[in-house]
């Protein structure tokens, strides 16, 4: 099926890209690798007037080490290059694992980090062909006013399936969002919103240009469960971080993904482990505290009840993996 009619523009510099976004951001969709955008355009879920390619914007394709020990990664870097980057593999192994967990080699050869961070939320109803959607009533995503997944909800419950944001949240990464004549830094944990429609704080005239990772000496882990290892979106995924060694852990962070409209930072389980250490007894208690923090669950790539089970299992596996490191 052909893509809907639109104008294709290729920005050859960051300045040119931001200028187009200022002039016509509302009517424009940025295309980095395009693997998510083109898919959604083909389904007629995105019908922008302009597709703005940033593949030739060289300013956002560098990985730089900053004097304070941080690593600044251009959002336009291809996932395949980042997965092979020796500095990322050495200093941020969980982040490297999450990059390798995204889709297949084919997709990673063209998809970018910025694209995965901005990945649109997905849902069993809307991520279908236009003809299929005509058989059901319009929902929030298709200019209607209901959510098929949770009928009583006033919000869209489409799920955020991105993998790389999870380790970026536990690592305390900061995103740089640029617009013409200005720029702001947003911690990635504050970038996402619990709304399937308006799932990030990114404005129409802004572009995610860089991701800055502070130094991290703690143990980190990333685990993903999907139907097939090579290709599928996660049924559930987790990133974890713990200071200390062995079962000692002063500070613990756990973030679950592919469960809800935004990544879920688990507070109570992390607090419990930080207090008691990563012992078998504490892990058992932490698991029991997971469900309460997940909120309403919906089914995408796995049934809601199974997702609650996976969340618990992933917390257990992540904590045990951290203890072994």
């Amino acid at each position: 099926m052909l893509l809907p009619d639109h104008q294709y523009l290729c920005a050859d510099s960051l300045q040119a890209c931001l200028k187009t976004l200022r002039e016509s951001g509302e009517r424009t969709h940025v295309v980095a690798g395009g693997t998510d955008v083109i898919f959604n355009m083909r389904l007629r879920l995105f019908q922008p007037d302009i597709a703005l390619s940033i593949r030739r914007v060289a300013e956002i394709q560098q990985v730089e080490e900053l004097p304070d020990g941080s690593l600044r990664i251009g959002a336009g870097c291809r996932l395949v290059d980042l997965a092979e980057n020796p500095v990322i593999n050495e200093r941020y192994p969980a982040f490297a694992d999450s990059i390798r967990a995204v889709a297949s080699t084919h997709i990673r050869n063209i998809a970018t980090l910025g694209g995965n961070i901005c990945l649109k939320t997905r849902c069993w109803y809307t991520n279908n062909s236009e003809q299929w959607r005509q058989g059901v009533k319009e929902c929030f995503k298709t200019d209607g006013d209901l959510c098929h997944v949770i009928k009583s909800s006033s919000l869209c419950h489409a799920i955020n399936n991105a993998d790389t944001p999870l380790p970026l949240i536990v690592l305390g990464a900061v995103l740089t969002l640029q617009r013409e004549g200005g720029s702001r830094d947003v911690p990635i944990a504050e970038f996402y919103q619990k709304d399937g429609m308006d799932h990030t704080v990114l404005e129409a005239d802004e572009l995610v240009t860089h991701v800055t990772l502070p130094p991290c000496a703690d143990r980190t882990v990333f685990l993903k469960i999907a139907a097939r290892k090579g290709m599928d979106f996660s049924q559930a995924a987790i990133a974890g971080r713990a200071s200390g060694t062995g079962s000692q852990a002063g500070e613990v962070r756990l973030v679950l993904g592919s469960i809800s409209m935004a990544p879920i930072v688990l507070h109570e389980p992390a607090r419990l482990i930080a207090e008691q250490g990563i012992t078998d007894a504490a892990i058992e208690q932490a698991e029991e505290k997971v469900r309460a923090e997940l909120g309403e669950l919906t089914s995408l790539y796995a049934r809601a009840g199974y997702k609650a089970h996976l969340a618990k299992i992933l917390v257990r596996r992540a904590l045990k993996a951290l203890r072994e490191m």
């Binding site: 099926m1 052909l2 893509l3 809907p4 009619d5 639109h6 104008q7 294709y8 290729c10 295309v31 395009g34 693997t35 083109i38 898919f39 083909r42 597709a51 390619s53 593949r55 395949v80 889709a103 297949s104 080699t105 084919h106 997709i107 050869n109 063209i110 097939r228 290892k229 090579g230 290709m231």
Partner: protein, 166 residues
């Protein structure tokens, strides 16, 4: 909708002044405008891999998931490019020898994915094969023979002549 003139090098042949529109993908132009029908159209969602071609670095990319205008001035290789001297490529010979083809619908995508792997790793490990081939689906012949062909592609002449009793 506006038309554009682009140049695209496919299998070493440069197509100047290809007339394309904004909403065409690389696959649309390879099949529709240039007329090379070896590259197949499958799921068009990035899940099946049958539209795989190789970019100038020899990496596997999905031609249905990218605007053709992204590729103005660039070079790609399609399945037709592997045998353009008249002789089959080693990976194609291996597919024939090991019977890694059944209905053939996915074969161009499977072979171009395998070719990309062999470009980077002429003698790949099991793990490298699994990772490189995870993005393409074959629903009839299975993946065992495909993997056997890839594993032995680097020494296929020897395998074939041995089998023929030379």
């Amino acid at each position: 909708m506006a038309k554009h003139l682009i140049s695209l090098t496919i299998n070493g042949d440069t197509y100047e002044d290809l007339v394309v529109s904004d909403n065409q993908t690389l696959l649309d132009v390879i099949r529709g405008e240039v007329g090379l029908k070896g590259t197949k159209r499958g799921c068009t969602t990035g899940a099946c891999g049958v539209c795989t071609v190789n970019d100038a670095n020899g990496d596997a990319i999905l031609s249905c998931m990218t605007h053709v205008l992204e590729w103005d001035g660039e070079a790609i290789t399609t399945i037709e490019g592997l045998a353009d001297t008249g002789d089959l490529d080693a990976i194609q010979k291996a597919f024939v020898h090991y019977g890694a083809v059944q209905c053939g619908s996915c074969t161009p995508g499977v072979i171009m994915s395998a070719k990309a792997l062999l470009n980077a790793h002429p003698q790949p490990t099991e793990e490298q094969i699994n990772e490189a081939m995870a993005g393409v689906l074959c629903r009839c012949t299975g993946h065992v023979k495909v993997k056997e062909a890839i594993r032995n592609a680097h020494r296929i002449e020897e395998v074939v002549s041995h089998a023929a009793g030379d």
